[in-house]
Each structure stands twice: as C-alpha cells, then as structure tokens.
C-alpha cells in the first residue's frame, strides 16, 4: 500500500520534516521488461465492478467476496455482502463473469472480488455505478477493473474525484474506453489506466497508445470468455481488453507490491510491445 491521504489533506510541508516522510519503494521492472516473468498475482486483491460474477464458474475459479449495490427503503443505493449466489443469480448478463475470467487467466493467483452495479434492479442510472466504485475504492483493493462507463455529465465530477482518490490511495483503476465514439467516463481521466482493444490475434500482446486518452490496447477482438451457466462464448469489445490489463497490473503488483498507480502505468508503458528504449531524443519526437 502506498502513502495516501490517511493523515488528511496536505497543502504544504509545514509541520513535518523530510525524515518523517521516508518510505520504502519498489522500482519498476528492469527494461526491457517481460510481463510474463512477473508474478501470477498471488497476494493481490482485484475487484471486478460490473454485472456480478457467477460463483463457481470453472474459468473464474474461487471468489473471495461477492457484493452488490441495492436500494434501501428510501431508494438510495448502498453496497451489501450478497455472498455466493445460486446458479443464474450471480450474474444475470454474463459480462462481469467474462471480465473476471480474463483477470483469472492473466493473473491466476490473484484474489478476486465482485461488486455488482448493473443488471436487474439497476439499469444504467449511473448512481449504482458510482456507489459500487466508491465502495471498491474505499475498501482499498489493489486493482479495480471497470469495463463500464457512463455518458451522463452529472456524474463527471464525482467520478473524477473518485478516480483521483483511487490514484492517491494506491488503488489502480483500470477503465474501459467506450466502444463507440461518444463522451463517457471515467476512462477519459489521466488518473486511471484506460484500455481499448487491438485487432491482432496474439493473446498476450499489449500496446501503448502514443495518442491517448486511451493509453493501452490489449486483446479484445474475437476472444473466448466465460459466460453464464458455466459456459463460454466468443466476443469482441474494449470490455474484454480491460481485464487483460487489470490482470497485468495484478501480476506486476504481486512481484513489486509497493508500486504506486503511477509506477504501474510507467511499468506497463515500458513493457508494451511497441515501446523501445533508444538514445535520448528531442522532446516531441516519436
């Protein structure tokens, strides 16, 4: 876990000395980095904020926790521990199960958690998404996979604040770009790791985008994913590239547990297949 804002907001260094700020850090992997030489994610807590995850799916494996957003008597959303739900009730859509399965494939040793923010009961209002995401950040998960976004401007500032909170408190938020060219959030924020899909067949290939806001491209076209009923389907979309990068973050944190979100982004950048380290150039050169 990284130094965060637990001591309250800091405006300037007035009442502490530099010695009081000492911390031990991990360095990012040496370059050239081999992401597959990183850990299998053991000891890293990954939360999938989505439609829920089917408990016991053979591709997903064990879940360490299942939570869902539900409405209280006044209709206000809040998060409850749903526990393992019966077949067919853990994930009505299949999307969250698909994402969890990809995280598990990339980082088989990680601890997986699920918080359901979409599906029956909540059909895309954004309130549930915000509630579930806030809960996940407050829990201090190491990595949060968010293969979702909202187009509603009224959630923009709340999501931006939440993404900043995650960034400063050591939760790496991996967010999916929208599949169509519309404005949506939070993937547009620089504080998150944003992901889209490339069209290559290589299931281990990921790339850095020199022209963000989408920062990384990962396998998401025609991929086989877990789905409801213990089954799998082939599908396409940024949603499925995102948990690949979330899994990579878990692998990285497993072997370098003190990395901060900005170091993780740096390590991913250096590890992307299209990034090479050359002689110092001129700023602005590609």
């Amino acid at each position: 876990m990284t130094a965060g804002t637990a001591g309250g907001l800091t405006w300037s260094l007035r009442d502490r000395t530099p010695d009081e700020l000492t911390l031990t850090a991990d360095t990012v992997p040496e370059v050239p980095a081999d992401p597959w030489a990183w850990s299998d994610g053991t000891g890293v807590r990954v939360c999938v904020v989505d439609t829920g995850v089917e408990s016991g799916h053979p591709v997903v494996g064990p879940l360490q926790g299942s939570y869902e957003v539900t409405a209280d008597a006044d209709g206000a959303p809040h998060v409850v521990d749903s526990g393992p739900l019966p077949d067919g009730e853990g994930d009505g859509c299949g999307h969250g199960t698909a994402c969890a399965g990809i995280v598990r494939r990339v980082a088989p040793g990680c601890s997986l958690y699920s918080v359901r923010v979409l599906g029956e009961g909540f059909t895309g209002t954004g309130d549930a998404l915000l509630t579930g995401l806030r809960w996940a950040v407050d829990q201090g998960f190491d990595v949060v996979n968010l293969s979702l976004s909202t187009t509603r401007p009224k959630f923009l500032e709340s999501l931006r604040a939440l993404a900043d909170q995650a960034f400063f408190t050591g939760t790496t938020l991996v967010a999916s770009a929208h599949n169509t060219p519309v404005e949506s959030f939070p993937w547009r924020f620089s504080s998150v790791v944003s992901v889209g899909t490339h069209r290559e067949d290589d299931p281990g290939l990921f790339l850095y985008n020199p022209a963000p806001p989408v920062e990384f491209f990962a396998p998401g076209q025609n991929v086989r994913v877990a789905w409801t009923g213990g089954k799998t389907i082939r599908t396409t979309g940024n949603s499925f590239a995102t948990p690949f990068i979330a899994g990579m973050c878990a692998r990285l944190l497993g072997s370098h547990p003190k990395l901060t979100p900005f170091q993780i982004k740096h390590a991913l950048y250096l590890s992307a297949a299209n990034v090479t380290i050359g002689d110092p150039g001129t700023r602005g050169e590609s």
Binding site: C93, E120, T123, T180, Q221, K231, I233, T236, G237
Partner: protein
C-alpha cells in the same frame, strides 16, 4: 436476444412502448435494413418499458417475426440486457455450440442462433432499447468494424425513433386549430356577456 428471455404474451404491452403506425413502419424498416446489411437470419428491435422493467419486441424481421412481436422479458438480463444497461454494443459467437439459448429461446421461437450482434438504441444519454442482429453472415462476426457499423446504424435508428415519437406526442394541427377556435369562441362569449365598457 437474451439468454434468459422468459417471454410473455403481447397482451401486457404497456402504453409507454405501444408504437403508433409511423413508429411501427420505422422500426420494421430498421430491422429489415439491419438484416440486409449484415446478411442475417433475423433482426429485431426491443424497446425498454421502464415502468415494467422489461424489454419488449417491437419489430422483427426473419426468424420469429410471426409471433415474437409484443413478447417481453426482464430488462437487465442476458446479452440484450447488458447492451441496455451499459449502452455498449456487443457481439457473441459460438452460442449454439455452447447450448446457449437452447432452454428458453429455442422453446419459445423454435430457432437457436449461433451468433448475435446487438447495439443500443441510444438518443442523447438515454437508451431507448436494443437493436439485435441474429446469425449475421460469417464475415460480419466478431469484427470491430462490423460492430462499429451496427452501433452507427442503431444510433441513426434511435434518432429517427425519437423524432417520430416526439411528433406523435405533439398535438395534431387540426386539434390545435380546434382548440384555438374553442378559446376564441369562449373569449367571444366572455366579451359578449361582459358589461359594456365605458
């Protein structure tokens, strides 16, 4: 189409999703065009009945067109449910091999698709429903560009649907004229009945 339809008859169609003739014509045109673009076995439009929390088949071309219109199932479930709640397009393949759809949709329609593409009917920040394409031609499957095309077409369809619906909800010109005449008449009555000014 959803993996867990739980279809119910058309009799319970709510007014919110009961289209007028212009909408019916538009939606039928949308599904027929979508089916032609993607060389598909079937296409359908499902609109979101927010009050009932359900998706309702409003237009179908191809497999199931004789009996699916008016059928409904819970929103927020299955592939169509995902598209509705997320506002994102979706493509799925190898469904038949996995036995998907076999339990519910096959029993209801007698047709088990192997592949499905779906895109939201999104207008401004609302998702009005879902446009589905079943068993598109092989070259249309699992491709980003085809998904982009379907999403674009769905957006255009949603915009057209919104325009038609808004026009339907506006008072017809004849009704406006009649109401104006009533008001003029009432005003004349008031003036004629009023004591002379002076």
């Amino acid at each position: 189409m959803s993996q867990t339809h739980g279809l119910v008859p058309a009799a319970s169609t709510a007014p919110a999703t009961r289209p007028g003739s212009a909408e019916r014509e538009l939606l039928q045109s949308v599904v027929e065009t979508a089916r032609a673009i993607f060389g598909a076995a079937a296409s359908s439009v499902l609109l979101h009945d927010e009050a009932a929390g359900e998706l309702v088949f409003q237009a179908v071309s191809g497999e199931g067109e004789e009996f699916l219109v008016g059928s409904r199932f819970p929103a927020g479930r299955g592939l169509a449910g995902w598209v509705l709640v997320s506002g994102e397009p979706m493509v799925a393949d190898d469904l038949r091999e996995q036995g998907m759809f076999a339990k519910d949709v096959a029993e209801d329609t007698g047709y088990v698709p192997d592949a499905l593409m779906a895109a939201p009917l999104a207008h401004h920040d609302r998702v009005l429903g879902v446009l589905e394409v079943l068993d598109p031609a092989e070259q249309s499957r699992s491709s980003l560009s085809e998904l982009d095309l379907l999403a674009l077409f769905a957006r255009q369809a949603a915009a057209a649907l919104a325009v038609v619906t808004e026009r339907r909800e506006e008072p017809a010109p004849a009704a406006v004229r009649a109401r104006s005449l009533e008001l003029v008449s009432a005003l004349r009555d008031v003036l004629e009945g009023a004591p002379p000014r002076g």
